[in-house]
């Protein structure tokens, strides 16, 4: 069974936020909210500095606490679509348990009242397109695909390159990996 995920090459990413802007227009994310964002992690002291730039979003965890805690089943795993984690708006009561349950603070309450977050552009993926943020990235540092398929580009990259996931210790088994 497919497990969709992302592999993002931090050595190429320039933190330009094109992925953030593309998400806003593609998905009509309301002004004042974002489904993806950039983190800058600088270490060291000038002039010996290392900088990691990361494009972050919902990690579509394989053990998603946001799904476990949802009292209505609104937050669910889309089994036949690479186990993407989605929210069914018309099941959501806006209790915000899922917001509290996410170690990545990836969710927010949409102005219309339901919990919202990155959908991995399910509407595009269904059509065989890449997510908008992946398709726009000018440095081509983002890769989307089936982590469970050993022949997929993402699996190959994880095979061949040094990588880490965010807050792996939080135990949610995130599906986004960062090459370093």
């Amino acid at each position: 069974m497919a497990r969709y995920g992302m592999v993002i090459d931090t050595t190429r990413c320039v933190g330009c936020m094109d992925c953030v802007v593309a998400c806003k227009t593609e998905n009509g994310v309301p002004d004042g909210y974002c489904r993806d964002w950039i983190s800058e992690e600088a270490r060291g002291t000038y002039p010996t500095v290392q900088l990691e730039l990361r494009s972050e979003r919902c990690n579509h965890c394989d053990r998603p606490p946001c799904v476990a805690c949802c009292p209505t089943g609104a937050s669910h795993v889309e089994e036949e679509l690479g186990r993407i984690v989605l929210v069914a708006h018309d099941l959501c009561i806006g209790c915000k348990a899922c917001l509290s349950s996410c170690p990545y603070d990836a969710r927010f309450i949409h102005p219309e009242g339901y919990a919202d977050k990155c959908t991995f552009c399910a509407h595009r993926v269904r059509k065989g397109l890449e997510p908008a943020c992946v398709a726009v990235c000018p440095t081509r540092c983002m890769h989307f695909g089936d982590l469970d398929d050993p022949h997929s580009e993402v699996a190959q990259l994880l095979e061949s390159r040094r990588h880490h996931a965010l807050l792996a210790e939080a135990g949610t088994s995130p599906s986004i990996f960062y090459l370093t």
Binding site: C34, W37, A42, A74, K96, S101, D105
Partner: protein, 313 residues
């Protein structure tokens, strides 16, 4: 790599950044009232099992009635917190076994009948006159001691479930290290019981019962202190993030409120007063129980607010 000197997160979502603050006053109030009612039910159940119905001036008969009212207030607070109110009914079109909140929704449905039944055992005169049917039902029920025992036991069981649930609700949210403690359930249950005892003490007009309640309450308060110690030992002996989280209450932004209002004014002071009162050093007053109840409320506020602030990053 050298340790981080700067972490800049270019995200600013309402209620999420700079620190999570999705829950305001509603949830603490709901958790408090839920715990209080849980305590009231257990007390009622125990009184009934101990066949205290006979005592005319005893508080038990009032508790379940008030319980219904308080619980309804709590549910109202919970409802007010919902962001997608029109869809609230979705809670009852499904049961999500992994979701404490789903459990809670259904438990509340079970709690009401139990409360109602024990309420029926002695319906206030005014209501009886208004609805003769209550009179008849009440009579029918009281004529069946076996059934009354069942009601009493349901009170105890559902009360306990409800009390623990209010704690589990938080402790199940693994992303908030401060809440990652199995002791949160017991803690909220005991705190609920002590608030309930204090509450009953306030309404009781039966001297022997009050002393009984005060003794019980002292026990609960003492237990609470012990649970707190264990709670912190647990966090401090866990991972770095849990230690960071504990620091919110030990030398962090919430330290003052926690120690002054929750522990000092809410537990230690009333405990002292009531110990003296029990030893007849001072007279019983409403002060101690009021402090206990306020402390119970403060506990929910501090834990809900500080807990949201705690994070893994």
């Amino acid at each position: 790599m050298a340790d981080i000197t700067e972490l800049t997160v270019h995200r600013l979502n309402p209620m999420v950044d700079p620190g999570l603050h999705v829950w305001g006053w509603e949830i603490p109030v709901y958790l408090f009232l839920g715990g209080l009612v849980a305590g009231l039910m257990i007390l009622t159940g125990v009184f009934l099992l101990r066949r205290r119905q006979a005592r005319p001036r005893a508080s038990w008969s009032l508790l379940s009635g008030l319980g219904i009212a308080l619980l309804s207030l709590g549910m109202l607070a919970l409802f007010l917190d919902l962001e997608h109110k029109a869809y609230v009914w979705r809670l009852y079109t499904t049961f999500q076994i992994t979701s404490p909140m789903s459990w809670g929704a259904w438990i509340l449905l079970l709690v009401y009948p139990a409360l109602l039944a024990s309420f029926l055992l002695r319906v206030p005169a005014a209501l009886r006159r208004l609805f003769p049917v209550l009179q008849r039902a009440s009579g029918w029920l009281r004529g069946r001691p076996g059934l009354v025992r069942w009601v009493a036991m349901l009170d105890v069981v559902f009360g306990t479930l409800l009390g623990i649930y209010t704690g589990i609700l938080l402790s199940s949210l693994g992303a908030r290290p401060l809440w990652n403690s199995a002791l949160l359930g017991p803690l909220f249950l005991v705190s609920g019981l002590s608030s309930a005892a204090a509450f009953a003490h306030l309404v009781s007009r039966d001297h022997e019962e009050s002393t009984l309640l005060v003794r019980a309450d002292n026990g609960f308060l003492a237990a609470e202190l012990v649970l707190f110690v264990l709670f912190f030992v647990g966090l401090l002996s866990a991972t770095q993030v849990h230690i960071q989280a504990a620091r919110l209450l030990l030398g962090g932004p919430f330290t003052a409120v926690f120690w002054v209002f929750v522990v000092g004014v809410g537990i230690v002071l009333p405990l002292a007063l009531q110990l003296l009162a029990v030893r007849r050093r001072i007279a019983h007053t409403a002060l101690a129980p009021v402090l206990v109840i306020a402390g119970g409320l403060a506990l929910r506020f501090v834990l809900v607010y500080a807990g949201q602030m705690s994070h893994w990053r």
